[in-house]
Every structure is written in C-alpha cells, then in structure tokens.
C-alpha cells in the first residue's frame, strides 16, 4: 500500500500489572505494526505510566489503532503526536565497538562528529552513548558496523509535543 504512514502515539495508562500486555496483545492480535515501543512510570503519585509507540499503517488503520487503544479500560489518554502539531522525538543507543589500530581511532573520530560520548573504554573497546533522532542513530550505527561494532542496545523512540500544552 502506498499510503502507509508512520505515526508516533503517546498513551497514558494506569501503572498496573498486565497493562503492557494488553497494549502489546492488541497490536499482535489485530496485526498492527510496532516499529518501537517504550514504557516507564512517569507519575508515582497518580500511578501512571507513559507508553510511546511508533507504528505504521494506512490512515484507516492508524485511526483504528487509536480507537482500539482508547477502548482499553486502563488507558487514560491516547495522543497521536504525528498529527497533533509539532513534536520532538529522541532515541538513545549504547554502542559497543571492539578493535585496534586505525579502526579504533576512526571510531573515536566519528563518535566525536556525532557527539556520542564514550562511557566505557578498554584498550580494545569503547561503549558509546548517543542520543538523537532515529535517523541520526541509524547513520551512526551504520558507520560503527564497519568499525567493529559487537553489541548494540537502543531504547526506541520517546516523544513529546512542542509548546506549552501537556498530554
């Protein structure tokens, strides 16, 4: 389908057992895509967690995803950041690169260009921390693949709207 679009959706849920399973189960049972999904408690006093899910589908499917999410009993709010105005998306990755000599120097040089931080270093390896847009991370990881990347961990996208308005 040519009109498949990627959307970033923020979901405010009760922080209770099984709520993530409900959300993930909904996506798998109805055959929706999950490009990435992150979840963490954000409000201990009111017992709320925020799920950020990046999904893709036709406009009709995206509308269904939001309606289906809204129908889950422990869901407080569903917000489609992609259509609700400008927003920011960030992702964080930890990248482990092992190697000696020129490759090691090159890895450090590229990390500097991308403003990645070296969190750990041995004589034969680095662990870099990099944050930014998914595209920036993809570019950095692509370069590191040729320079001895041995391990990779990514958080998936977290997102928030610009301006004064909260979720």
């Amino acid at each position: 389908m040519s009109n498949v679009q990627q959307h970033t959706i923020a979901v405010l849920v009760d922080n209770e057992a099984g709520v993530l399973a409900r959300v993930i189960g909904l996506f798998s049972s109805r055959g929706y895509n999950i490009e990435s999904l992150t979840v963490a408690a954000i409000d201990k006093a009111n017992n709320l967690s925020r799920i950020t899910v990046v999904t893709s589908g036709t406009p009709m499917v995206i509308e269904q995803i939001k309606a289906q999410l809204g129908r889950l009993v422990p869901v407080h709010k569903v917000s489609d950041l992609t259509i609700e105005g400008p927003h920011l998306e960030r992702e964080l990755a930890l990248v482990k690169v092992a190697g000696l000599g020129d490759k090691r120097v090159e890895a450090l040089r590229i990390a500097d260009i991308f403003r990645a931080r070296a969190l750990d270093s041995t004589r034969e390896s680095f662990v870099f921390e990099i944050s930014g847009s998914t595209e920036k991370l993809d570019a950095f990881i692509g370069l590191m693949a040729d320079l001895g990347m041995v391990d990779l961990s990514r958080t998936g996208v977290v997102a928030i709207s610009r301006g004064v308005q909260g979720l």
Partner: protein, 589 residues
C-alpha cells in the same frame, strides 16, 4: 475505614453480587472456589444453577443476559474451569453481551509455580474479555467486584472476568457498597455530537433511496431504543433491515421491514443495501457476513453510523457521518431534529424507491419447494413459528443452516426474544442459552432451534434441565449432516463431503428419555403440527427430532467474496442458482 465491616473475601463476593442486584449465578464448583461455595451455602438469597460444563455456564449467563437486559453471572474454578469458560467468554465478547465471570485461582503465593489446576487465567482471557482482573489484595476486592459490573454493562457491553485466588477468598477485609467508586479512566460516551446528528438528519432529509440498517446495539441499548427506532422509521417512512443479532429490535410484521440482510439475508434487503443512497446504521458493525465483498459494498451511499464504540467506526467501511453514542439517546435526538425541520424528503423519489423494493419483494426469495413426503426444514420452522407466535415465546439457536432458517422464517416482533451466536458462531450455544432464558422466564415457552450436530456439543446440559425441572424445548432440525459445512462443500468444493456426515447419531427420543425428558419425532410433513402441539403441551423438557430433507440448502446466499447483487437464489426461484465463487472468495470463510 473504621466503620466498614470486616468480612471474608468469599462473603465480600456474595455481598457484592447481591448489592449488584444479582439473583442467579451459573456455575460449577472446584477446589479453588470452595470458600465461595461455602459462603453460597450459608445464605439463601442468591440462587446457584449447577451446570454440567463451564462452557454451558457462560452460554446460560448469556441467554439470561440477552433475554433480560441484565448482566449474567458465572462462577467457575481455576485451571480447567477457567479454560472451559473461554469459548463462552469469546462468544459474549463478539456479540457484546454483559457477563461477569468469577474464576477461582490458586493462592497468591502459588501463582506461577505450575500449581495443581493453575492456569494463567488473566493471560488466557485478556483477548477474549472486555476487561479482566486478578485480585491480589483483599482491600481491592469489593471495588473490583463493583467495577466489573460497571465495565460489563456500560458502553459497549461485554464479558468481564475476575480471577480470585483462594487465599483472598479466605482473607478478612473491608466491604464497600457500590456506587461510591468512580472509575479513573473508563468513560463510555452516551450522548452523540449534536452537530453530527444535525448533519445526519440533513442527509436523511435529502435522501432519495434511504435505508436503515440496524443491529444488536439497538437491543443492548434497551427497550426504549426499539420504541424510538419504530417511531423514527414510521415518521420517516424509510425501509429497514436488521442484522442477525438485531432481529426483534424492529417488528418483523411492520411493512417497512425488509427482513434480515447479509450472507443469508433476503433479496430485497441486500439489493436495497446495494442500491441505497443514504444508509443509517444504528448499532451494527459492518461484519463480513453483512458486507460481502467490501469494494462492492453499497457503492453509492452516504453512510451514517451510530455506535457506542468508537473502534466500530471506519473499521472496514468508510463512514461519512459518524455518531458515537448510545442508540436510544441518539435516536431520540434524531427524532427531535427531524420533527423540528420543515423540510421533508422528496415524496416522488421515496415512492419510486418503495416501488423498486416491492418489485424485489415480489421475488419471494424465501420460497421453497414444498413436499408432502419429506419434511422441508423451512416448513418445520414455519410451522413452529405459526404455532408458537401468539405465545410468550423465546427462541435460541445453535449454529448452522437451522440457525439461518430460524432467522429467515421465525418473525420477531419484540426485542430480547431471540438469542443466537452471531459473531463467534458457536455450535453448542443454544441449549445452555435456552436454560439461562428459562431461568429468567420460568413461565415462558423457551425453544432451542437446533441442528443434530450442534446439539451434541453441549448435550450434557439436558441433565441441568432435569435437575431444575426446566421445561426447555429442543427442536432439532435433523438432516444428518453438518448442513452448512455440507452446503459449502457442495457449492465450493465440488460436492466432496469431507467429514460433514455424522454416522451413528444417537436416537434423540431415547436420549431425551435417558435425561428424564420427553422425546418426540416427526418423519413426515403431516406429523409436524401434531408434534409441535404435543411439545408445547408437555410441561417438562422435550427433545423433538424433526427428520428433514438432508439435501436442502439455505438460500438466498451471498457467497464469500461476492457482492450483494451477486446473490444466489434457491432452485425455486430458477435464475442465478449457479454458484460463481472466485478464488479470492474461496479463501474467505
């Protein structure tokens, strides 16, 4: 907290049920629910009906719920008790039936240890309930019990399960009365957007070929919704068709009624759907059995969709005017807006539309070849209808050809009189559902129109009928085949009747007798009336074995992957009886 009473978990459960107005629970005991059964034993306000299989308990609760508009309640044990209930819960979810299912669970400290009769009940039932709970703290128990009823009965109704570990049932804790808790996140919409309602009425006022298409949502909304629907249809003069689950929401005898639509719907209903220019969907969900081929579904209509569930809107069919709200509330608003308007639809166009519909009606699409030697299944159901229509009658069905014939030939004038498994299509639904209906309406005539294959799926419930002396009538349309499977094999698979014939069927008359019921049989058309009359006159459970033409097929039929205007009619109608099924259609169910 100081003044709240301390009760045991089991007592809290019983008290919550009573405070929710529950009169009857359908259940089956087991190790993990013994404390609740003990609390049941010590009181006499809440009645318990002991079923013979947990699936039967859920269907009985569904029958109770559908015939009363109140939630049905189920109580089963952990492990197999819960897994046996899964089919019933899925059925209730698909057909939006309010059911509260209480399951026992192993003690909290045993959960996850593969304990005896342990199953991950909330995990297993998450996709087949509207919502479910595992109560791990006695202080949550009363709130969760009340919340379960609230969630099950409001918005789009559905099954809610509460999993109750055994130590929670025994623990002392506080009781909170219902009504004192407000839900944090669950807020179903009731009132439709007034701007959308005006937009919808405006479309209706300009319609040339309008059609109401209404479903189970009208029935779930309550009797008031049916009354308003009748008023709106009569005020507008528009034709109306019902889905399988919507039958009874509009009186079948009214001249505006075109019969059921969809795969086995009438010629006039389906062609009206195909040809209408404004469609007003009230509480129906564009199921694939209704729409047929989606890209050819009602191609030239503006579509209004009233539904309480936002996820039903634009799920498979593009809607022009969505209205999210309760059917009765929205219909009342629509009527008010219609009456306030000075404009009326063009009478000339509406007359022409009705003339067209009357031509389609004249095809008499349900006509069948009558026979004086062999009983036609349609004849059996027609006679059943004629001989029971003036009584206080409730009809349930199993699933298959007999179900479709019942939907076509039994005419319902009132809501809550027709109980059938639509979305899930559960064979074995009808007998336990009839049991639940009879419990709710002890003086009424309750008939399960069954097939000989379906009835065997929950035949054990005959024993429950005996225990509670429930005079349920099982009317078996016996063609010795899984008729609908055979029909599809005939039309789609070259007549290769793979495993659709059942050898060694029981003698249903003697089977009835074995369960303490009365067995009757008809083998000739001339015997049908006498058998039905005897069935009605018998003040106890009856199985009627009506031996019908094993080769009869159910028509009209919109084959999978076909459009409404590509319907197959029966041989009696002559034309178009040849199935044209595409490869794409073959892949559909």
């Amino acid at each position: 907290m100081a003044d709240t009473q301390q009760l045991t978990g089991a007592e809290i459960i019983i008290k919550a049920l009573l405070d929710q107005g529950v009169e009857v629970v359908f259940g089956y005991p087991g190790g993990a629910v013994l404390p609740i059964y003990d609390a049941l034993f010590k009181q006499n306000r809440l009645r318990h009906i002991l079923v013979r299989h947990e699936q039967g308990a859920v269907h009985a609760a569904e029958g109770y719920a559908r015939s009363t508009g109140k939630p049905g309640v189920v109580l089963v044990t952990s492990g197999p008790g819960a897994t046996n209930a899964v089919t019933g819960l899925t059925d209730a979810l698909m057909d939006s039936i309010p059911v509260v299912c209480l399951t026992g669970q192993v003690a909290t400290h045993m959960i996850g240890n593969d304990a005896f009769q342990e199953a991950d009940t909330v995990g297993i039932t998450r996709p087949c309930t509207k919502h479910n709970y595992l109560v791990k703290d006695i202080n949550d128990l009363a709130r969760v019990m009340h919340e379960a009823f609230y969630v099950a009965t409001t918005g789009r109704p559905g099954p809610v399960l509460v999993d109750l570990p055994k130590d929670i049932q025994l623990a002392p804790g506080p009781y909170i009365a219902p009504g004192t808790v407000q839900h944090k996140s669950y807020r179903p919409a009731v009132k439709g957007d007034p701007r959308r309602i005006r937009e919808a009425v405006d479309l209706m006022l300009h319609a040339k070929r309008p059609l109401f298409y209404t479903g189970g949502g009208v029935i779930n909304s309550g009797v008031r919704a049916s009354e308003l629907l009748l008023e709106l249809v009569r005020t507008t003069g528009f034709p109306i068709t019902n889905t399988l689950l919507g039958l009874g929401a509009f009186p079948a005898g009214d001249r505006h009624f075109l019969g059921m639509l969809g795969m086995h719907g009438t010629y006039e209903a389906n062609l009206a759907m195909h040809g209408c220019d404004v469609m007003i969907n009230v509480g129906a969900r564009f199921d694939d059995r209704i729409t047929g081929r989606l890209d050819a579904f009602s191609p030239n209509s503006k579509k209004i969709h009233i539904d309480i569930d936002p996820s039903s809107i634009n799920k498979s069919v593009r809607i022009d005017v969505p209205i999210i709200g309760d059917a009765a509330t929205v219909l009342a608003e629509m009527l008010a807006v219609w009456k306030a308007s000075t404009k009326r639809p063009e009478a000339k166009s509406l007359d022409a539309w009705w003339r067209q519909i009357d031509q389609w009606r004249a095809r008499d699409c349900l006509r069948y070849k009558s026979d004086d030697k062999i009983i036609k299944p349609q004849y059996a159901i027609e006679r059943l209808y004629q001989l029971t229509k003036d009584r206080d009658t409730y009809i349930t069905t199993e699933v298959g050809q007999h179900q479709m014939w019942a939907a076509q030939f039994y005419k319902f004038e009132k809501p809550h009189r027709w109980m059938t498994s639509g979305g899930l299509g559960t064979m074995g639904y009808g007998l336990p559902a009839a049991m639940g209906v009879q419990i709710a309406h002890p003086e009424s005539l309750v008939i399960d129109i069954a097939g000989e294959a379906s009835i065997l799926m929950n035949i054990q419930e005959m024993s429950t009928l005996a225990q509670y002396r429930l005079p349920v009538k099982v009317f078996i349309v016996n063609n010795q085949y899984m008729g609908m499977v055979r029909q599809w094999q005939e039309l789609l698979h070259g007549g290769r009747y793979s495993e659709s014939y059942m050898d060694s069927l029981p003698d249903f008359v003697r089977l009835a007798e074995a369960f303490g019921a009365v067995g009757l049989r008809a083998t000739k058309p001339s015997e049908v009336d006498a058998v039905i009359k005897e069935m009605i006159a018998t003040p106890k459970a009856v199985i009627v074995d009506v031996c019908v033409d094993p080769k009869e097929n159910c028509f009209p039929m919109v084959p999978s992957g076909a459009a409404h205007n590509e319907m197959i009619l029966g041989d009696e109608q002559g034309a178009g009886s040849q199935a044209r099924v595409t490869d794409a259609g073959l892949a559909l169910v």
